[in-house]
Each structure stands twice: as structure tokens, then as C-alpha cells.
């Protein structure tokens, strides 16, 4: 395996020694020392805020460490210079891609690699090299397609190719699977396998245990800015890593069986138009009852967002009916749904859930600021709102500088707790939760899931839209799958196996016209 690697490369390609970085009172990295071996994937595991991204930003020269140094291929790396990191053969793929959407794949890859004084661009040579790299590592892309037309998974391939094109021998991937579907993640792991077989080395930042176990040779666990453990991946377990990462034993929540009650929400033929092309949500029927969680699975981009928007009152019902607790809602609006007891947990907490530049208390009353307890004669009742905020902060364990602080200062998990507190404290009859645990660390994930189960026990109906199949299967009473804007009939959880859901996701129920046939085909 290692034969194809250049012989002069040492066994340890990257060495971090005693890296310490402080941001004001926060010790983001505390004396971290690490080695990356040639041809291996090192997983950097830790909760949000554990210091993973800071460490990699120091390595790549975005930040300068207060103490400690970095060695690449046996030579010290000058601090604070991304250029030096690139020249030393380190390539970074950020969580948020840095591609120009209006340029083609080829243009994006060769951008910045050619000398400025040359008046023409060697596109033919660039194309040859790109296609050569693409075929060598199985990263199929069309060099002439504009990046704007690529899927998220394809864009990530372009980012990796970009780094390889710049002769990277060490790749740093920051939360690479956060934006990928499960299928795309599998493709990424296959790519990493081919890269390391060729002698490249990879640092893989993640907080998802199963990915770390599936895709790495060594795991380094960070907690609170310190390196708390290093393990060979083959010699550790999911439970051990979870405990190391969180600092205490972790138990995943499970749904207790409950008899479903009266129907809370019913959709019949619900359709939401798309800006162009076929409808985003296409004649969907569904029913959720009290004490029931309906899990909606599916590959992202198949209409889940349209469904969530419709049930949140921010998308128009183009056709079909929506009945909430026995009364039809003709034009669902956010205010109307909130008034009728719908709790909405949006997919993107930063972009749609919260106003980061406003105080915590202001965000906590955002859905109900007109109610008499929060305003009178057009003036806000600050006392009432602050008391409400303090109560919610205590009850939902929102960690932060307090109710008057700017919301942007909170971590992702605490922002989600804020949204949960805002909606669940109103004892909703329906909860629409869209990717409620995406991007959260284990502690926060468990918390959010427990809250949903508690609401279910208290009599709420829950529509849980998630791309995390484990989550769907752990929480749901029934599971339905979205494909191209249509919703499969629901399966009881007992019958919803991963294989069966996979078949549904591939759209088999649609082609055969009925879920029974898909089930029968699978059973036979």
C-alpha cells in the first residue's frame, strides 16, 4: 500500500506539539499534541466547542497559536500563513465550500494555481491533470459543468480535487459529512480509502461516532480544549468514544409504547408549488395523532423542506386540504398556526429560527410578542418578557450569559434549546420538527430527542423530518419516506427496517404504485 508513496516521506507526516490558543477568557486549545501517520485517517472527535476547528485553523495558518508549534513532513511550519501550509502540502476542505458557483469545475480547480503574468491559461493541461486525478481517486466530475448546478456531494468532490490539484499530501476535512446524505457519506469514505491507499494522510473532523468508527484508523478525542484520549479505531467502541467525548456515560432515548389518540393533523392531497418545474410537495396525504411521532425519512431535497414550510405556515397550500384538530385551515400562516398550538422547530436555526443580533429574551417571545403578557398598548412589557425568559432558560438549561445577552453568543446546542423552550413550553398539540438535531453534539442531541418524547407522552402529535435514519427509527411510531415531493404510505416502526426504507427511498413504491408491492418484493 505504502509503496506508491514517495520514499522520502517520513512515517509521521504531521506533528502538532503543545498547541495552546486562548480567545479572551476561553481556552480553546490547551497544550494539544498530536501526530498524523502517513497513509492513515486520523479522526478528530469532539463536541461543538471542544476546539477541533480552532486546532485545524491553527494548523492551516488562519490563527496563530499562543504556544506550541507544527511540523509537516519533518520541517517546522511557519505560523499564520495559509500559503506556507499549502506549500507544505496541506489542503483544507472547509465545512462551507469556497467555490465560485458561476465558474465551471475546471475553472474553480485551476483558479489561483497559474502564474499571474502569463496572459493565457493552460486549460488543456489543467483539464488533463484534473481528469487524471479524478480517475485515479474515483472522484467522477464533469469538468465543464458550472459548480452552481452540482449537488452538495459533487461540490465536495470538487473541493477535494482542488486540494489534490495543489499537490496536497495531507487533507483536512472539517465536518465533511454535515452536509451530505448517508449515501454521499459512504461515497466520501470510499474516496478517503483510495486516498490513503495512495499514501495521502487525512485529518477528519467530526462529532458523529459511527462515521469516525467507519472511516478512520486512529481517533483523537477533544473535550473542553484538551486532548482527552487517543485510540486505535479497531481497539475502541462506540460507547467508549461517546463517554470520552461527553465526559459521562451516554444513553440514547427510546420511545415507550403509547396508544395513539385522536388525529391532530391531517393533510389530504396537499400540494406546494415550486418556483419552476414539478411541485415541491405533490399531493401528500398524512395523519398524525396524539401520542404519536411520524418520522419522515428521505434523501435531502425530495420535498422535506416544502413539507416543513407548509406545516410551519411559511409556504402556500396550492391544492389540497389541511385539517388541524378538526378544523380546516384554508390559508395557513405562521401566526395562525402558532395560535392554534403548532410548535415549529425550523431546519436552520441560524437562518430561520433566530435573530442572532437580538437579545435572548427577544428571541424567546418572537412568536408571541403581541400577547397581553408581553405587550400592552403597543409597548413591550419588559418585566414579563424577562421573567418568562429567565424561567425558560432555567427550565430548558440554556447555557449562556443570560437573558439580555446577544443570541449570537450562544452555541448551536443552546440556540436549539432556545427554540425548543420557545415552542414546547406552550404545550403544543402538534410539533413540526425539521432536522432538529442536525449539527448538534451528542449531549444536545439526547436532550432534544428527550424533549420530543416528553411532548409525545404529554399528548402532542409530532412530525419529525430528519435525514438521520437512526434518529427516525429510535423515535418514530410510524415512518414514511419522501421521494420527489411525494410521501409513501407510513410503515409501523416494527416493519420499518433500514433495507425496506432504502427501497422506499429509491422510489420503488412509486414505480410499483403501492407500498405493499415494495414490501412484498423485499420479503420474497
Amino acid at each position: 500500500m505504502t509503496v506508491s508513496a514517495p520514499l522520502r516521506e517520513p512515517e509521521v507526516v504531521l506533528r502538532l506539539a503543545g498547541i495552546t490558543k486562548r480567545f479572551g477568557p476561553l481556552l480553546a486549545n490547551d497544550g494539544i499534541s498530536l501526530e498524523l501517520r502517513r497513509g492513515e485517517v486520523l479522526a478528530l472527535l469532539g463536541e461543538n466547542g471542544a476546539g477541533k476547528t480552532t486546532l485545524m485553523n491553527i494548523l492551516f495558518g488562519h490563527y496563530v497559536a499562543d504556544a506550541g508549534h507544527v511540523e509537516a513532513f519533518g520541517r517546522p511550519l511557519p505560523p499564520g500563513s495559509p500559503r506556507a501550509a499549502l506549500d507544505a502540502g496541506i489542503g483544507m476542505v472547509h465545512q462551507h465550500f469556497t467555490l465560485a458557483e458561476n465558474l465551471t469545475v475546471l475553472d474553480n480547480v485551476i483558479l489561483g494555481t497559474e502564474p499571474l503574468w502569463r496572459p493565457w491559461s493552460d486549460r488543456a493541461g489543467g483539464r488533463r491533470r484534473l481528469l487524471d486525478l479524478a480517475s485515479r481517486f474515483g472522484l467522477a466530475v464533469d469538468p465543464d459543468r458550472p459548480v452552481g448546478s452540482l449537488s452538495v456531494g459533487e461540490r465536495q468532490r470538487v473541493e477535494i480535487l482542488k486540494a489534490l490539484y495543489r499537490n496536497a499530501r495531507i487533507l483536512i476535512l472539517d465536518e465533511p459529512t454535515a452536509v451530505l446524505t448517508p449515501q454521499e457519506s459512504l461515497g466520501l469514505f470510499a474516496t478517503l480509502g483510495r486516498l490513503t491507499a495512495d499514501g495521502l494522510s487525512v485529518v477528519f473532523i467530526s462529532h458523529k461516532l459511527h462515521e469516525v468508527l467507519a472511516g478512520s484508523q486512529e481517533v483523537a478525542v477533544l473535550r473542553g480544549g484538551r486532548l482527552v484520549a487517543r485510540r486505535r479505531t479497531t481497539e475502541t467502541t462506540r460507547a467508549e468514544l461517546a463517554e470520552l467525548m461527553v465526559g459521562r456515560p451516554v444513553t440514547a432515548p427510546r420511545a415507550l409504547p403509547l396508544a395513539p389518540g385522536e388525529p391532530v393533523l391531517a393533510l389530504a392531497g396537499a400540494t406546494v408549488a415550486a418556483p419552476a418545474g414539478p411541485p415541491a410537495l405533490d399531493a401528500v396525504d398524512l395523519t398524525v395523532r396524539r401520542h404519536e411521532i411520524l418520522g419522515i425519512a428521505g434523501v435531502s431535497g425530495n420535498g422535506q423542506t416544502a413539507l416543513a414550510d407548509l406545516l410551519s405556515g411559511v409556504a402556500e397550500l396550492a391544492a389540497g386540504r389541511m385539517v388541524l384538530l378538526g378544523s380546516e385551515i384554508v390559508a395557513p400562516s405562521a401566526r395562525e398556526l402558532v395560535r392554534r398550538g403548532v410548535a415549529r422547530i425550523p431546519e436552520d436555526r441560524h437562518a430561520t429560527g433566530l435573530v442572532p443580533g437580538m437579545a435572548v429574551w427577544e428571541n424567546l417571545i418572537a412568536e408571541r410578542y403581541r400577547e397581553p403578557r408581553f405587550s400592552r398598548w403597543g409597548f413591550q412589557r419588559r418585566g414579563g418578557a424577562m421573567a418568562h425568559a429567565r424561567a425558560l432558560i432555567a427550565r430548558y438549561d440554556v447555557r449562556g450569559p443570560g437573558p439580555a445577552a446577544m443570541t449570537r453568543l450562544l452555541s448551536g446546542g443552546n440556540m436549539q434549546k432556545l427554540i425548543l423552550g420557545r415552542t414546547l413550553s406552550e404545550r403544543p398539540s402538534l410539533i413540526v420538527a425539521s432536522q432538529p438535531t442536525r449539527g448538534l453534539d451528542i449531549g444536545a442531541v439526547t436532550y432534544v430527542q428527550e424533549q420530543l418524547l416528553e411532548a409525545r407522552a404529554a399528548g402532542a402529535a409530532v412530525v419529525l423530518i430528519s435525514e438521520d435514519l437512526d434518529e427516525i427509527l429510535a423515535l418514530s411510531d410510524h415512518v414514511a419516506v419522501m421521494v420527489r415531493g411525494r410521501l409513501s404510505p407510513p410503515l409501523p416502526r416494527a416493519e420499518a427496517t433500514i433495507q425496506r426504507l432504502g427501497l422506499l427511498m429509491a422510489g420503488h413504491w412509486e414505480e410499483h404504485g403501492a407500498i405493499a408491492q415494495a414490501g412484498a418484493a423485499h420479503a420474497s
Binding site: 505560523p79 499564520g80 409597548f379
Partner: protein, 349 residues
């Protein structure tokens, strides 16, 4: 050198930013003063004296600050909701036109009711002018920067047409100016033998009202939410389009009021040189004030003081008066840098 975001911004830093920006601007402009051959300390001493050093200087500065406070508030209110009203100049002129028209004898109202009527009508005129761009933006997504900016020229040409035509003063010796407003339509003076008028009180009351509205009312809350994150505001059920239109109407009213106040308080009639760019100056005032209403008062007095003081400086040491424009412009740029430095920390290496 690199920028790192600050986790939290200390209050003192936010207050010091405009002071530092102004100091930096004066330091930069000192080079220009020296270039024109004047002694820097003497020039700036004359500037300060000309702006604040005597009863007359002080009242002139405050008189000049009055419309700037109102246009500054107009910009601050709109910018807070991320509605970019660049058209305060046009709204000001339309407010002035309506005030001159109604106050010039068209309305015959008993004594004390004439002034409020004329002022309210001027504010409404500014408001209505901004209603168009606001509706176009919320309905069809038309960029309000373009529409409000271009409306300035439309209004100026319209005012010009009116002053050359139907509203031309028959006693005006042929000058394009309106007939003077009735004595009953004039705002009272605040001090003997000065030009300072009750418009300043109105402007200060407006600043207080805007402050209370922004910080304490449901309307202010909605506007800040829409300005902070329109998607989240819409998700929470805040009527984003209506909030924008409402905010625009308030902004336009403040600018229109500035025009009505200039006519009824200072000039007594309308000409095409009523405003030396008070509408655009309001944008500078709002930025210097970091959109805070109390800050708008201070920033308006500063900008007005620079303009008034630069006249004295020009007479004393022969620095051209457009140093005032340069100082104000450089202050704005310094303020933008200061805002950046408040949000981020400059690090070595």
C-alpha cells in the same frame, strides 16, 4: 495583521468608537489644512470657535443641526429595519413644498392650529413619497436604493417646475421662489437676535420618540427583528412586508418634517437651495450615530458644527470651506473602520 471577531463588545468601546473616528478624521484632515498653508492648531481653534465659541456661533450650529437631526433619524429608523432610504433629500423637499403651499395663504385656519397642520401635512407628504418605493420593494422586490435615490431628482425637478410656475412668488422679482408663508404659520424663535427656532425642540422630541419607539414598543421590536433577520422574523409570524412599509412611512415622515420645519422655522419661503444636502447628510449622521436616536442628535450637532465652523476658519486662515465636506466624509469613512474594529479585534501575526 489579522481580524478576529470579538465574543462580546464592551459598552465603553461602542461609545468610544464615534469619538475615536472623529478624532482620526480631524487628524487626517490636519494634513489638508497644513497643505493649504495654515497653522493646524490655529485653524482648528477657529473651527471650534466658529462652531461653538459664541452665542451666535452656537445658535447657528444648532439651527443647522435641526434638519440634520430629523433626516438623521429618518435614515436611522429605516436602516434599522434594513430599508435603505437614500431619498431623504427628495422627501425633505416635498415636505417643504407642501408646507410652503399650505402655509402661504392657501389654508385659513385660526392662529395656533395652522402650524401643526402645516407640519403634519409636510410630514405626510414625505411619508407618501416613500410609500411607493416601500410597496415596490415588498411586493415586487424592486431595489429601494435605486427608487429612492432616483426619486430625489424627480422631486427636485418637480419643485423647480412649481417654483417657476404655479407657486412662483409674484413679488419675487422673477426669482424662482415661493410666496412667503403667513406669519401665523411661522415657528417661534427660541432666542432674540438669532435664527434659532422651535424646530430644534421638535427635532429633539422626535429623537426621544424614535428612541422610545425603537427600544420599547412592539413596532420597534418588529422593525429590529426584520432588520436583524427577515427570514426568522417571517418564520416567527412577524408581518415582514407591513413592518417594512410602516417603517418606511415613519422614515419618510421624519424627512418630510425636516423640510416643513426649514420652511416654517428658518426660511419662510421655498427656494431650490433650501437644503445643502441635508437629506444625504442624514445618512452620515445616522452612520456616525450607529443608528441610535440620541447619537443622531450628537452627530447632527457635530456635522453642523463642522460646516458652520469651517466658515469662520475660512475667513480667519483662508482654508477653503469645502474642508467641511472633506472632514464629514472622512469622518464617515473613519466611522466605518471604527465599526469594524468594534466588532473585530486586530491581532498581530
Amino acid at each position: 495583521m489579522r481580524l478576529e471577531p470579538r465574543a462580546s463588545v464592551p459598552l465603553t468601546l461602542g461609545l468610544l468608537a464615534p469619538v475615536g473616528a472623529v478624532a482620526a478624521a480631524l487628524a487626517i484632515c490636519a494634513a489638508l489644512v497644513a497643505w493649504s498653508g495654515a497653522s493646524i492648531p490655529r485653524a482648528y481653534a477657529l473651527l471650534a470657535e466658529g462652531a461653538l465659541g459664541s452665542r451666535l456661533a452656537l445658535t447657528e450650529t444648532l439651527t443647522r443641526a435641526t434638519p440634520l437631526i430629523l433626516t438623521g433619524l429618518a435614515a436611522a429608523v429605516a436602516f434599522r429595519a434594513r430599508f435603505w432610504n437614500i431619498g431623504a433629500e427628495g422627501q425633505l423637499y416635498l415636505g417643504a413644498l407642501v408646507a410652503a403651499w399650505l402655509g402661504g395663504g392657501l389654508l385659513d385656519l385660526p392662529g395656533w392650529t395652522l402650524v401643526p397642520t402645516v407640519l403634519i401635512a409636510g410630514a405626510l407628504a414625505g411619508s407618501l413619497l416613500l410609500a411607493g418605493p416601500a410597496v415596490l420593494k415588498t411586493r415586487f422586490g424592486v431595489d429601494e436604493v435605486v427608487t429612492t435615490l432616483l426619486l430625489n431628482f424627480v422631486v427636485l425637478l418637480f419643485v423647480s417646475m412649481m417654483l417657476e410656475g404655479p407657486m412662483k412668488d409674484p413679488m419675487g422679482m422673477g426669482w424662482p421662489q415661493s410666496a412667503p408663508v403667513l406669519p401665523e404659520a411661522e415657528l417661534p424663535r427660541l432666542a432674540e437676535r438669532t435664527r434659532l427656532h422651535a424646530g430644534l425642540i421638535l427635532a429633539l422630541l422626535a429623537a426621544a420618540a424614535v428612541w422610545v419607539m425603537t427600544a420599547r414598543t412592539v413596532w420597534g421590536y418588529e422593525a429590529r427583528a426584520v432588520g436583524g433577520n427577515p427570514r426568522a422574523a417571517a418564520f416567527a409570524g412577524i408581518p415582514v412586508a407591513w413592518v417594512m412599509v410602516r417603517t418606511a412611512l415613519i422614515s419618510g415622515a421624519l424627512a418630510g418634517l425636516a423640510g416643513a420645519v426649514e420652511v416654517t422655522g428658518l426660511k419662510g419661503y421655498l427656494t431650490l437651495d433650501l437644503s445643502p444636502g441635508f437629506g444625504y447628510g442624514g445618512i452620515v449622521v445616522a452612520m456616525l450615530a450607529q443608528l441610535h436616536p440620541a447619537g443622531a442628535v450628537a452627530a447632527a450637532v457635530f456635522v453642523a458644527g463642522i460646516f458652520v465652523g469651517s466658515d469662520a476658519m475660512s475667513r480667519g486662515v483662508a482654508v477653503p470651506t469645502y474642508i467641511a465636506d472633506v472632514i464629514v466624509a472622512v469622518s464617515l469613512i473613519c466611522m466605518l473602520v471604527a465599526t469594524l474594529l468594534v466588532r473585530f479585534r486586530l491581532r498581530k501575526g
